[in-house]
């Protein structure tokens, strides 16, 4: 009997990291060349800090999780680098000349430190399996934090921020990780009963009414987000995550069908009562009906139209005309300056991240790891879909961040922590089984009560 062993491929990762750091730095240098006809004087510092952070993350991976997927880290570093370069470019275009790129680089340092902490302190993702209900509660409470009076902050019509001191924060970024872990832990225990009990109706298997409890709680929670926080993207993110993980755990198509019906039904029923949601939908379907109100989305469309196939080039477009170009509309800024070719490359990078996570889910040996990896990759994919879809007017616009690229510390830290968790799962999925053999671990003697009694020995 032979078995398949994955190579560690840390060398490949190092090579790709060099390339990723080079491309990120390239964007920064090109901005300087195009706008001021010279490279920025601080470029060795930018290279040292950015490259150093990538190196630190690489060393942490080499030491602690040598079998982790070789593509995840370089892709993340590249997206982060493109985001930094674009934020720097937008700083230059801003008449107030803020230093948000430097601040973002500082946040990247914090995020990489959190990544290393996750990698070093969490030996195995399986320890997270133990606390499904606590994590579920923590996740829901975190998600609902913006609704607390005095703490929550309403910006641009949506209430998905909290403000502590003079510092704003999107709790949904943390909640998505916590809830993905909680769903995985819950579904590993409950998937048999969710999959097998129930009757058939119109050719689809329906679950038992009493097993519908969790999906109803989650539906209520996401409807609550939609109604009170007024953000379709966040609502879609969490409900979508839950339904997809139910589907993966039970392999029954009735769950997504039921989920889509519930979500569409709920959203349609709520639609006439919420002016904010109506505004978003109208600016999606017909932005030019009200030029002043839909100024942002219209500017983004103009920018991308001007960028065309290959873009205007770094620093040569005018992405600053769009309000909030560094956070919600960084995708539009990329589309304007790098064109369709650049924006679709960015989308490919997100696709690579999601597929590597799903690949780890396929290869993972324990069901909790499978569910966790697929949940984390899916939450990532749906977030990118919601925000880039919103920016390009495929979907109504939402206030989610573009992972790794948007300006904002909480989002960056949370997404790097998510990366760490995902890489731990890939490490355990890919490492050879022989290394699983416990060395000197003491067995629990409680297992022995179920063994067969040696009848022959007793007779002798």
């Amino acid at each position: 009997m032979s078995q398949v062993v994955y190579r560690r491929r840390r060398g490949v990762e190092a090579f790709m990291l060099v390339l990723a750091v080079g491309i990120g730095l390239g964007g920064y240098l090109l901005t300087g060349l195009d706008t001021q006809a010279q490279v920025p004087q601080e470029w060795p510092w930018a290279l040292a800090i950015f490259g150093g952070l990538a190196l630190a993350a690489h060393i942490a991976v080499r030491v602690r999780i040598p079998y982790a997927d070789p593509l995840i880290l370089p892709t993340v570093v590249l997206l982060n680098g493109l985001g930094l370069a674009m934020i720097h470019r937008l700083d230059l275009g801003d008449s107030q000349a803020p230093h948000s790129a430097e601040l973002q680089l500082t946040w990247m340092a914090v995020a990489v430190a959190v990544f290393c902490l996750v990698v070093f302190l969490l030996p195995d993702h399986k320890v997270l399996h133990r606390y499904p209900y606590i994590l579920f509660l923590v996740g829901l409470v975190t998600l609902m934090l913006p609704l607390v009076p005095g703490l929550g902050l309403e910006k641009y019509g949506a209430r998905i921020w909290i403000k502590v001191w003079h510092y704003t924060f999107q709790p949904a970024e943390v909640a998505k990780i916590v809830l993905a872990v909680a769903f995985a832990a819950y579904l590993v225990d409950k998937r048999e009963v969710l999959a097998l009990a129930g009757g058939r109706f119109l050719g689809i298997d329906l679950p038992r009414p009493r097993d519908l409890g969790p999906i109803l709680v989650m539906w209520l929670a996401s409807m609550g987000v939609l109604v009170f926080q007024k953000d379709l993207g966040t609502s879609l993110l969490f409900f979508g995550l839950f339904v997809v993980m139910l589907y993966i755990a039970t392999e029954r198509p009735s769950w997504p069908i039921l989920g889509v019906l519930l979500f569409v039904g709920g959203a349609t029923a709520a639609y006439p009562f919420f002016a904010h949601v109506q505004t978003r939908v109208q600016s999606w379907l017909d932005p030019f009906a009200d030029y002043d109100r839909n100024y942002q989305i219209i500017q983004a469309q103009f920018g991308m139209a001007w960028g065309g196939l290959f873009g205007t080039g770094w620093g040569l477009g005018r992405p600053n005309l769009t309000p909030l170009p560094k956070t919600d509309f960084i995708g539009a800024a990329i589309g304007e300056e790098l064109g369709v070719v650049g924006l679709s490359a960015v989308m490919m990078l997100y696709a690579v991240l999601a597929t590597r996570g799903l690949r780890a889910a396929l290869g993972s040996r324990d069901p909790f790891g499978k569910l966790l990896a697929s949940g984390l990759s899916f939450v990532f994919a749906i977030q990118v879909f919601a925000i880039l879809g919103g920016v390009t007017r495929l979907l109504p616009l939402t206030g989610l961040t573009t992972p790794f690229m948007s300006q904002g510390g909480s989002s960056l830290v949370a997404n790097w922590a998510l990366t760490g968790l995902l890489m731990i799962v890939t490490h355990h999925a890919r490492k050879p089984v022989a290394e699983h053999a416990p060395g000197g671990v003491v067995a629990s003697l409680a297992d022995d009560s179920t063994q067969l009694i040696d009848v022959e020995g007793a007779a002798a």
Binding site: V12, G342, A460
Partner: protein, 152 residues
Amino acid sequence: MSELIVLGLKLGFLALLWLFILITGNVIRTDMFGRRVSPAELTAQTKPRKARRSARKLPHTLNVTHGSKAGTVLELGGGLLIGRGAECQLVLDDDYVSTRHARIVAADGGYSVEDMGSTNGTFVNNSRVSQPTPVVAGDTLRIGRTLMKLEK
């Protein structure tokens, strides 16, 4: 700067970006199936480490840590017979232990554990042994409800 250079740099940057994605695709392709190895090769990779360890950590005593005989310490000497029968050096009165269950024998400078056809098996470091298995100090040995540890 001339517009031609700007255009060249712009296209070069995009080409580099897509080169990254192409390399990604190649890594995914080469990573698809992993490398097929036989179990012998797998154990061969871990063998040298064990050999080095055994040179330093020769066991001398068998220390019973859990079970009815907990606290007993036996010299390994020339070998030990473990079982429920009276002729054994370590007698374990346990329904899960066979009359002649397992033995520890001196073999090429060290010791190895050998199962003697017991019904419920002999476990070294939690894995059931099917052939004489070399042991070093620090390894655990489980027979029925008794847990033993080999020590220097």
